[in-house]
């Protein structure tokens, strides 16, 4: 079964089509990268998969469950990290993780184990005791990435996961995503306009432009196909051809 199945997806806001006849399949256990420039339709697609927006037309299913008619079931399987996301400023990092964990386990032990995993992923150590409002942008992002992964979702949807992080922590987060997906068998769909990042983390990528998938495949295969040394070059060449 595919983790994600998107057929002929269209999403319009008034007269503007943010997503235009998009087809996409993501296999289970893949780390799939959706890459494209700003305004290409990445975030809208991710929001539809995360059940926040409804498609204008087309069909989107997650592990066989429709995002419109079975949205509550879909939300049990996914974890979504929005690009511009925050945490509750007046809670401590630990309280925030515990609050989020409480929706995924009914038992105290279960919650403790999820929070422990979240604390490890974040790498924030003692700073988790401090209120979120005292965190830097990078620290907040690490907390949010930890929140998204700690619950061991079947599908993690990460919109620009390293946004706002410095080189060191961006590298740290990429390694965590790679390692976590492999270790826990989590399917990851991530979007980024940083194509080098996607090249490093993802097992498969799709290039999106003007709301449509213009090319997809594994990074190595695409680079060979377009005789390019990196995905950025691939994207430029594909865009010109399109």
């Amino acid at each position: 079964m595919n983790a994600i199945d998107i057929e002929n997806l269209v999403k319009s806001f008034g007269t503007k089509k943010a997503v235009d006849r998009l087809f996409l399949q993501v296999m289970e256990n893949e780390i799939f990268g959706l890459i494209g420039p700003n305004g290409a339709g990445k975030t809208t697609t991710l929001r539809i998969i995360a059940t926040l927006l409804k498609p204008t037309s087309g069909k989107v299913s997650i592990f066989g469950h429709d995002v419109v008619t079975e949205s509550e079931k879909v939300r049990e399987l996914i974890s979504y990290l929005p690009e511009e996301s925050g945490a509750y400023n007046n809670l401590s990092g630990m309280e925030y993780l515990r609050f989020m964990a409480s929706f995924y386990s009914n038992k105290g032990d279960g919650i403790d184990s999820i929070v422990k995993e979240g604390a490890e992923i974040s790498g924030l150590e003692d700073r988790l005791k401090d209120k979120v409002k005292t965190y830097s942008k990078g620290m907040k992002r690490r907390l949010l990435v930890a929140r998204a992964l700690m619950i061991r979702p079947k599908l993690a949807i990460l919109d620009e996961p390293t946004s706002g992080l410095d080189v060191y922590y961006a590298h740290y987060v990429r390694d965590i995503i790679k390692d976590y997906a492999k270790r826990r068998g989590v399917t990851v769909l991530l979007s980024s306009h940083n194509m080098l990042e996607v090249q490093y983390v993802c097992t498969k990528v799709a290039l999106i432009n003007n709301g449509r998938i213009v090319e997809q495949g594994d990074p190595k295969g695409l680079m060979e196909k377009y005789s390019s040394s990196n995905l950025e070059d691939v994207f430029i060449k594909v865009s010109r051809l399109a």
């Binding site: 995360a50 059940t51 926040l52 939300r75 996914i78 974890s79 979504y80 929005p82 007046n90 409480s102």
Partner: protein, 435 residues
């Protein structure tokens, strides 16, 4: 209670109570504000009482007759106040001495005063009251001096009656008919002057709607802030992708806001009560509240239950209204701006109930007014006090229907993508440039 709902309520309360702006503005400010106001009022009353007890007065006696000497004796023998009296021969000198003697008034007893009074011609005594700081203390001193003069006049009148009509009772002659006032209200007669009933009811009628208004406005601000803060802090998207029913999220937010708003209301009522006690206990506790139960104006146990129902439904209606508006706001500031327009439908019925009889309005005005849900809140609180429970049941019915409709709208809005896609702004359109 389902665990996700409990988690959401606890998170909401923690977030709101840890926000210094909300904690100070909602819970601490009413206590501080009314505490300070009450203390200032008490201090002002104490200083006034202290000031009138130790009056310094200047008497300019140009008369030198029996009346002036009896007035001087009256000043010295007044048991209520310790009056220090200075006698200065001329008015000009008295004016010059004022700053040095720190006197509160000059009594000028003009030449011929005694002659006139003894001949049966009304005399005139002049009192110059000194105002220096224009504070409430001055007002207290002025009224005290005036009542002092009136007391002397009354004593003099009794003295004249007893000398002119030795066989008569001076008290009877000066006041031949005494009156006793009763109040009749809805079949009940009470031995209470109508003015006292009116002042007590107006105090209660003023207190209740003001407390309700503050409570509703606090609740509204709280709910709008709770929703808008999720949008401002970019946490709403994450919250809405959690495996929990969106209606539960909405109820969690409303319940958290309700809890904090009730806490704020309790703080407000404590503060207001302290302030009212300071106010009513003023000037030796002369004005006291009155038990109006003998007139049937009281809240029975059924009345309290109905009052609780009215308050609860009104608060839920307010919360639902606030959520419906703030859900389209991008941040806390614009949410608070947008709900400030709803304040009008709370304030209008409040003012009308406080100052006019709604039944005297034209029919269209009454219909328009009763279309506002909070008119029913105000009306119900008054009718409960007066024991008109049938009218209260109609008020409750209207509030329930309104609340259900608004809650339905709020729930619909919260469960659709409009939360993300619609942005409600109340910015003014830029003025057209003149060519």
């Amino acid at each position: 209670m389902p665990k996700p709902l409990l988690n959401l309520i606890l998170k909401e309360v923690k977030e709101l109570m840890r926000d210094p702006k909300i904690l100070v503005g909602t819970v601490l400010m009413p206590l501080i504000m009314f505490g300070v106001l009450g203390s200032v009022f008490s201090a002002s009353i104490s200083s006034t009482e202290e000031a009138v007890k130790n009056l310094s007065l200047i008497v300019v006696d140009e008369d030198g007759g029996v009346i002036s000497s009896s007035f001087k004796s009256f000043l010295q023998s007044n048991p209520r106040f310790e009056v220090k009296t200075y006698y200065i021969p001329s008015f000009e000198e008295a004016l010059k001495s004022l700053p040095e003697l720190n006197a509160s008034a000059i009594f000028l007893l003009p030449k011929g005063l005694s002659d006139n009074v003894t001949k049966g011609i009304p005399g005139q005594m002049k009192m110059y009251v000194v105002f220096s700081s224009l504070s409430i203390v001055e007002q207290g001193k002025a009224s005290m001096l005036q009542s002092m003069l009136e007391a002397y006049n009354k004593a003099l009148s009794l003295q004249i009656i007893s000398s002119e009509l030795p066989s008569s009772n001076p008290l009877f002659v000066s006041n031949p008919i005494s009156s006793r006032y009763y109040t009749y209200f809805k079949g009940n007669v009470a031995d209470i002057p109508p003015q006292l009933v009116a002042s007590t009811i107006s105090t209660q009628m003023m207190m209740m709607p003001v407390v309700i208004m503050i409570m509703l406005m606090t609740t509204m601000t709280m709910a709008a802030t709770a929703v808008a803060i999720e949008k401002e802090a970019k946490t709403l998207e994450t919250l809405l992708t959690l495996p929990v029913n969106r209606l539960t999220i909405l109820v969690g937010k409303l319940s958290g806001s309700l809890f904090v708003a009730l806490l704020g209301t309790v703080a407000y009522m404590f503060g207001f009560n302290y302030y009212m006690n300071s106010l009513l206990g003023g000037f030796g506790g002369g004005q006291q509240t009155l038990d109006l139960s003998s007139l049937g104006i009281t809240v029975t146990p059924i009345g309290y239950v109905l009052l609780g129902i009215v308050f609860f439904i009104s608060i839920v209606a307010t919360l639902a209204l606030a959520v419906s508006f703030s859900v389209f706001s991008e941040d806390v500031r614009s949410a608070q701006n947008s709900i400030s327009y709803i304040y009008i439908i709370i304030i209008v019925p409040l003012l009308l109930f406080m100052f006019i009889d709604i039944n005297t309005l034209s029919l269209p005005a009454q219909i328009a007014l009763y279309a506002i849900p909070f008119t029913h809140t105000m009306n119900a609180t008054r009718e409960i006090l007066l024991g008109n429970y049938q009218s209260v049941l109609f008020n409750i019915l209207y509030l329930v229907v309104f609340t259900v409709v608004i809650l339905y709208i709020a729930a619909k809005l919260f469960t659709t993508e409009k939360v993300f896609t619609t942005k409600f702004t109340l910015k003014r359109r830029p003025a057209k440039k003149e060519l």
